[in-house]
Amino acid sequence: MLAEADNVATAIDDIEPGTDVPVRLGKEVRTVKALERIPFGFKIAVADIPRNADVIKYGESIGKASSDIKKGNLVHIHNLEGARGRGDLAKGGSR
């Protein structure tokens, strides 16, 4: 994890489903059980994130959850959408 407010952490190794993953923020370490495979460099949810809630990394929003995300889920383009530059939404379109 990169900031206290983050609800995702970055995998620094490939993580297999069911692994109890030590999640580090500074010197503090907490544990999150991986619900699915998380490849190196990808994000794991460290808290439940309801649909339409902000996904927080670097202490800032990196987009909105497009479905309910459980603690331990992989977070990527299948359940996270950028909120910026969405011309399709701005013109009244639906996703």
Partner: protein, 395 residues
């Protein structure tokens, strides 16, 4: 935290000691063939058919490269920018550089009678300048005399969590010691401009940061393509980056945490010391020469993944007078491009090393390079053409 540099008449300190011949073209190239220790800029753009804003950018770039502390003395010749535009008058360029107190010689082909006579004079003057420069000695210089510029590229997760923050730490140390640091890439603050704007030293700087993001987006849209449907690029997504916001937030970490003193145009000389955001283009063929023209003695490319090999790294030394240092935190990149990588920050991920301790090591490496240790790509005698960042269409 001192480094050994060449003191210049204007109080700056060079980390290299070149003689610069500008503009590029036949005369500069042939002087370079004959005389060891000279540099020139390779660029096809002579200013012909360019708007006054773009002609001024070309002039500013040439003048800035001449003023760069790594340059001991300069030859300006009249055989390249012969378009008659006032911005590009060789006398103007020579005069502006000479204000720095360094020796500048103007060689005018018309006055010499022919290109070959001008070449003969150019070779003799360049030899004299190189010999004069060789008599200078390095002496201990203060970090406040240091200026560096950074670009990140082929960014992946290792960039956001290790590579960029380690460079950010270096930036904080140099700026904290009274030095100057540049970062830029106007497309890659979109989505993070609000975060960056909070770091503006005053409301005007914050407003200008937001304006750069807005203008860049508007120009992108004017092409008929929405930039944000193509960014993050597929390679970013394959590396774990999900959205443009995430990419931009990772990218701005390379600037550290210091307040942003101002927003500069490409190649613009900063009005003071500290951290500056440059409204520039991310292309590596362009950005580094711009930083050098703003006075950076050293430029850094913080590389992620993308499968780049040492061949890709070798062919990109386009800062003209400033050495290009490569850093990465990606072990796969280190494995295939190691012969060109000057600093590896992957220990942050592999061993849990702290950003601070790794950043201190990077600072030491930078001071060594500033004191004369070559960057890896300086061992290769090749420079690619520079694309000066011009914003308008040619007519």
């Amino acid at each position: 935290m001192k480094f050994l540099g060449y003191e210049r008449p204007d109080g700056s300190a060079g980390i290299r000691n070149h003689v610069l011949v500008i503009p590029g073209g036949l005369l500069a190239a042939k002087i370079g063939d004959f005389v060891e220790g000279t540099k020139t800029i390779l660029t096809a753009d002579s200013g012909s058919g360019r708007t006054s804003r773009d002609r001024e950018t070309i002039a500013r770039t040439l003048i800035g490269l001449g003023r760069n502390p790594n340059v001991a003395s300069v030859i300006v010749h009249s055989a390249g920018l012969g378009t008659g535009y006032p911005e590009l008058e060789p006398t103007r360029i020579a005069d502006q550089i000479a204000r720095s107190g360094k020796r500048v010689e103007l060689i005018e082909v018309a006055k010499e009678g022919s290109t070959f006579r001008a070449l003969e004079k150019g070779i003799q003057v360049a030899r004299e300048m190189v010999h004069e420069a060789s008599r200078l000695r390095r002496s201990p210089c203060d970090p406040s005399q240091m200026a560096i510029g950074v670009k990140c590229g082929a960014s992946d997760t290792t960039s956001g969590i290790a590579g960029n923050p380690v460079v950010g730490y270096l930036f904080d140390r140099i700026v904290g010691a009274g030095g100057t640091a540049f970062f830029g890439e106007n497309t890659e603050i979109i989505g993070a401009e609000h975060v960056l704007a909070r770091r503006g030293v005053n409301a005007e700087v914050s407003r200008r940061i937001l304006k750069v993001a807005e203008e860049t987006e508007a120009r992108a849209k004017a092409t008929g393509e929405d930039i944000r449907t193509v960014n993050p690029v597929p390679a970013n997504i394959a590396g774990g980056i999900s959205t443009l916001e995430e990419k931009s937030l990772g990218a701005i970490h390379k600037s550290g945490s210091a307040p942003v003193q101002g927003v500069l145009e490409y190649g613009e000389w900063p009005p003071g010391k500290g951290l500056y955001f440059v409204d520039n283009w991310m292309s590596m063929g362009s950005i580094f020469a711009g930083y050098a023209a703003s006075g950076a003695q050293l430029v850094i490319f913080q590389l992620g993944g993308g499968g780049w090999t040492d061949k890709d790294l070798l062919s990109t030394s386009t800062a003209v007078v400033a050495p290009l240092m490569w850093t990465t935190a990606n072990p796969k990149t280190l494995a295939v491009a190691g012969s060109c990588i000057d600093f590896y920050s992957g220990g942050v991920i592999e061993n849990g090393d702290s950003i601070e301790e790794t950043g201190e090591k990077l600072l030491q490496r930078v001071l060594e390079i500033a004191s004369g240790t070559l960057v890896k790509v300086e061992t290769i005698k090749h420079v690619d053409p520079t694309q000066i960042y011009l914003k308008d269409s040619p007519f």
